[in-house]
Symmetry: C2
Subunit: 395 residues, 2 copies
């Protein structure tokens, strides 16, 4: 039987994911991949997890395995108050919602705010998973210009003046895919603009704890608390497989996010939330985070050094102080997808940057390189291969 005639109209915008298709080859045996966007398994606190299980069993018993409130597990919401305060986000436990990864918040924002054809303002380039979350609600994307300091406030203001924007989506710190961070001055400017225009901003902050140099910046939420849905995750600093995200939103938005979540998954795994509560409240994150930083910092250094050593003239790249990615821009005319296929023939992968733009045809000479999943030696070899492919393109 074929039920294609029964599909909802929105499936037209959800079609098979081009990036998923081209990345299928990445899992081939022997592939050296800078394509992933995932934490190194050796960053997971495996020994700590054993202690957490024991603590959860002792403290919560069977209630850690029972249905729980849609809003989230009480002790985790409480533990997140301090975690958020340390980042500059003021919240009560009641104001914190738990989600199944921050992906759940993005889907819910789409469901609550986007009617077909509504405008969502995104960075160019932006996080692909956000587009995948919003697409089923059939938005129209308007792109805001970015440079090395992140989104350009004047571009945001112009977009807000020209369009009836439902919400703005930003990843201000160590952005995926560029690794770029919005400067302090721009954070304040963005806060001022959204307050003045009464706009709603989704601030996605998965990476800010992965800082290898320099000083932490306050989130935009700190400067415009009533206008920002701040969302983050424990995926990069605990364990992504546990699927724990969280958000702090203005009251009306929070109420609707809860209604949506109840219909989508009732609530996030109680047991995993209990493990996360103990990880935060027991001080384990504070103790373990330096181990993660010490693992990733030399990998980033290795990638930046390898780019310096191997790449031909005409390439520029970001110099982020943290996160998981370096963004590479080649000369106009370079087709990064061609580079991709030739590199894959030589068992080396990355992600062509064009997939991170909401409008097709942009970012053709760009690439996203991940450095968390490979050791320095492997990274150097991978960059050497990519550089050789680039140099051999016209031969």
């Amino acid at each position: 039987m074929n039920f294609a005639h029964l599909l909802a109209a929105r499936t037209d915008t959800m079609g098979v994911n081009a990036i998923r298709e081209i990345l299928k080859v990445v899992s081939q045996p022997g592939m050296v991949s800078l394509a992933g966007g995932i934490p190194a398994p050796e960053s997971f606190p495996m020994a700590i997890l054993r202690e957490l299980s024991a603590a959860v069993e002792q403290k919560y018993g069977s209630s850690a395995f029972q249905y729980d409130a849609t809003e989230g597990f009480g002790p985790l919401r409480e533990a997140l108050v301090d975690h958020l305060a340390a980042k500059g986000v003021a919240a009560t436990a009641h104001g914190v919602l738990i989600s199944s990864g921050s992906q759940g918040v993005l889907d819910a924002m789409g469901k609550v705010f986007i009617d077909r054809g509504d405008v969502v303002a995104v960075e160019a380039p932006t996080y692909l998973g956000a587009l995948q979350a919003f697409n089923p609600y059939e938005p129209r994307y308007v792109q805001m210009a970015t440079d090395d300091d992140g989104v350009i406030p004047e571009s945001m203001a112009e977009v807000l003046r020209a369009h009836a924007v439902k919400f703005i989506y930003l990843t201000p710190t160590f952005q995926n895919p560029t690794g770029r961070t919005l400067s302090l001055a721009r954070r304040k400017a963005v806060a001022h603009i959204i307050q003045e225009q009464n706009a709603l901003l989704v601030e996605d902050d998965p990476y800010s704890d992965l800082r290898y140099r320099g000083d932490a910046l306050p989130p935009i939420k700190a400067f415009a608390p009533d206008h920002v849905v701040y969302t983050s995750t424990l995926s990069k600093i605990f364990a992504p497989g546990l699927r724990i995200g969280f958000c702090v939103a203005p009251p009306l938005v929070r109420q609707w996010l809860i209604v949506v979540k109840q219909g989508v998954d009732l609530h996030t795994s109680t047991y995993n939330q209990a493990l996360a509560a103990e990880y935060l409240a027991g001080g384990y994150l504070r103790r373990h985070l330096p181990t993660i930083i010490d693992l990733y910092r030399p990998r980033q250094t290795a990638l930046l050094g390898a780019l310096d050593r191997h790449l031909p003239d005409g390439f520029t790249w970001s110099q982020p102080e943290g996160g998981m990615f370096i963004w590479l821009e080649g000369p106009a005319g370079l087709d990064a997808e061609t580079v991709y296929w030739r590199a894959v023939e030589r068992k080396t992968a990355f992600v062509p940057g064009k997939f991170f733009f909401a409008q097709p045809g942009e970012g053709l000479p760009t690439m996203r390189l991940n450095f968390t999943m490979a050791d320095p030696t492997t990274i150097d070899r991978a960059v050497q291969t990519i550089a050789e492919v680039i140099k051999g393109l016209n031969s």
Copy 2:
């Protein structure tokens, strides 16, 4: 700030949940509740869970905490093949999808198939969580008549003839809220109808393992495999807080469910899936299930006996062979919500049945009584209180 003007039109259909509001009082201290729809915590395999954690750590190590495929964790999909086969559902591991509770499948079915105004056919009464999952996609519900043997096939056939139905939603075994089970003859009749009309059926099967008497019936999926999205969960036979559901769908539907899930939560908790895989593959479910049955059977017996003893004439109720609920129908003119509020004053709760009908104004004299969360003595006292309230209604 108020962002109400930014809300999507669909939020009109998602409004604050009346049942959630009236059930808020149920969590008051001292309340004896037959209102819940949740497993008893003493049914959870707590000692087994310790063994499962150890097995997962040893077998899967850090990969149990890493991101994983949207489709589900391989070992769990494999373990479910046997579990499904025992129920009469033929599937390969590739054909099994894991979801974050079966709620995730229901939301995804809505997203994939429902355009505003599309018809979804549901039982009268039906599972409220399904309506909550479908509502954001703005369907129009058409009800199919039911009796003690479940949905009436002639009513289904008539609905399919009269409306362009996107899909039918049924809970054929120990339905929530009625506890009713579709007879074998009707299962075959339903399978015949959906094949003949080329219709798509969502068969929700969360309760069939909780059988206290009589013989298991094959699911409709067994008779019409190409036309049925079969969905189930481990929430009632393992631990609901782990949020593990699964489904077997026709290929086109399966593909779209994966696309949707990627946008909603990337994947279900890897760790919880690994625990579930060990629970099934290690034979623990087979060993533990009798303990759950032995816990619930006397509670059901107690509830049925208490109804016999205490209720005045004019009431009828279901005599299910399993599940978690008894459905009570009072005489015409009875307002079960009035009974509810008076019972709550006396610290006893249940759910007025009207909330389980897609059309307002139906089921006014009906009630859903749960028996899994209270011991036999408590159940008897609760029914006595409800009966006293009913008898005192006209005084």
